[in-house]
């Protein structure tokens, strides 16, 4: 059994074909985690972006918001973690698209790993790296606002993980179904903007224009933000939001896997 953290190292062992499916999925996922952490500049930029958004933008704008009963700084803090995890989960789509463009996918497909494990591993890797990446930000928010109930924190983290898993599936779906690089960039950026901005992560639904408030409750980012807030601030479980989140994961993970499999086996790599 290989204990190396990356797929490339793990697969160099001749015993890999006998590995259990779970181990192969994990190896694949760990490869994606290490790929993200091999580009520290991206991590630094996103962390800087989070800090500036929270401690400059949210701090200053909350001084201009005088709504009784609304602590906008706290509201935005939880929401910005949720929006960040959604944003980082979309990166897997860019990676998959680039791999296909640069020929790395050809190499990956020659590895002795069944397609099913390969695809599930990619989706899991996207979600794992997003959650690993977001935990320091979550800790900052929990520390500043004194969220210290273990069960609440666990529920919030679970909702973040579900969101990351679903968004990864969505990102993979787009990456394998759009062929032009420019169109892919536009579609993914637009999707990211739409699900984050048209959600309750960054502002309460009561203040949204009517046409946004119709759709915002159904954004997966809203599901995760509502679950995280209700568990961290209200110490309750928002069951409809959790159910929505699970449905989102099932739909997009299924779609992402189906599209990816079709592209690998019946598309240009058939």
């Amino acid at each position: 059994m290989s204990s190396s953290p990356t797929l490339a190292n793990g697969l160099s062992k001749t015993t890999i074909a006998a590995e259990s499916p779970t181990h192969l999925i994990l190896q694949m996922a760990l490869r994606d985690v290490s790929v993200l952490f091999r580009t520290p500049w991206i991590i630094i930029t996103r962390a800087l972006s989070f800090i500036i958004q929270l401690f400059v933008f949210a701090f200053l704008i909350s001084g201009l918001i005088h709504i009784p009963g609304l602590n906008f700084f706290e509201y935005y803090a939880v929401g910005s973690v949720v929006a960040t995890i959604a944003s980082i989960s979309f990166v897997i789509g860019y990676d998959i698209f680039e791999e296909a463009e640069e020929g790395v996918l050809d190499y990956l497909l020659t590895l002795p790993i069944p397609r099913r494990q390969f695809i599930i591993g990619r989706a899991l890797g996207g979600a794992m790296r997003a959650i690993i990446y977001t935990i320091p930000m979550f800790v900052i928010v929990a520390f500043v606002w004194g969220f210290n109930q273990p069960l609440s924190i666990l529920t919030a983290l679970l909702s973040l993980f579900l969101l990351a898993f679903g968004v990864t599936g969505m990102s993979i779906t787009v990456a394998v179904s759009v062929k032009s690089a420019n169109r892919f960039d536009v579609v993914l950026a637009l999707l990211e903007l739409a699900v984050s901005r048209g959600s309750t992560a960054l502002y309460p639904i009561a203040f949204m224009p009517f046409y946004v408030s119709l759709f915002a409750p159904f954004s997966p980012v809203s599901f995760a933000a509502d679950t995280a807030r209700s568990s961290l601030v209200g110490f309750t479980l928002d069951l409809p939001a959790i159910a929505g989140l699970v449905a989102f994961v099932v739909i997009f993970l299924g779609l992402g896997a189906a599209f990816y499999f079709r592209r690998l086996e019946g598309g240009i790599y058939g």
């Binding site: 930029t45 972006s49 500036i52 005088h66 224009p209």
Partner: protein, 228 residues
């Protein structure tokens, strides 16, 4: 691009417009030009990315250098091309802002396009300069993101300069976005709190300084980079 602008304006700005009070005028209108300038910024940065891709991905730089054009002319035309692209990308957005400001059918609409063009000029120059020094796309994206953070959050885009702590005020005042958005706000007949009254000529002149400097920097960097 227009879809991005529309989400920024009709979702984010519209919601913050309902949340923020006490700005002396509608906060939605206060931040509305910001959505357009953000779009201009994104479009302008795309030019630098294209220059980077030409060299490292598409291997087109050698071909471009065989064209019967002098290098300084080629370099400056790349900057100008980026500006034109950015103005075209923001064309409908600028129209929307002019409509919201009630200047759609006045000569001020040309000033609005001038502001967008001048702002884009600086950003295109800056993005081409980054392309010259970035050996990997990660580095390019990192520098771009850092500049975008500075332009967006450490400027008067969302709030007046006076709300910043005093140590940040010089950083905010030297931000091109601050002057671009102030020039835009001064085009409007609406009196915004803490936006100096009068025409936008002063703000445009201040904006022209860094924009021309960055355009020159981008041109020089492109010439230097194409020699490598």
């Amino acid at each position: 691009m227009f879809a991005n602008f529309a989400i920024d304006l009709f979702v984010t700005a519209a919601t913050f417009g309902r949340l923020v009070t006490g700005q002396g005028a509608d906060y939605f209108l206060f931040i509305a030009p910001g959505s357009n300038l953000i779009t201009a910024m994104v479009a302008a940065f795309q030019s630098g990315r294209d220059v980077w891709r030409e060299k490292y991905i598409k291997d087109l730089t050698s071909y471009l250098l065989t064209l019967p054009v002098q290098r300084p002319v080629l370099a400056f035309s790349r900057v100008l091309g980026g500006v034109v692209r950015s103005v075209i990308a923001t064309f409908p957005g600028t129209l929307v802002i002019c409509y919201l400001y009630g200047i759609l059918f006045t000569p001020k609409i040309f000033v609005a396009y001038l502001i967008v063009g001048l702002f884009s000029l600086g950003i295109v120059g800056l993005s081409m300069a980054i392309s010259a020094f970035s050996s990997s796309i990660e580095m390019w994206v990192t520098v771009r993101s850092a500049i975008q953070l500075y332009l967006s959050f450490l400027s008067a885009l969302f709030y007046p300069v006076s709300v910043f702590p005093s140590f940040l005020a010089p950083i905010v005042s030297s931000n091109p976005m601050t002057w671009a958005i102030q020039a835009f706000r001064q085009l409007s007949p609406i009196a915004f709190a803490q936006v100096p009254a009068g025409d936008s000529l002063g703000s445009i002149l201040i904006l022209a300084g860094p924009s021309l400097a960055f355009a020159l920097l981008g041109t020089i960097c492109y010439i230097w980079y194409s020699k490598l």
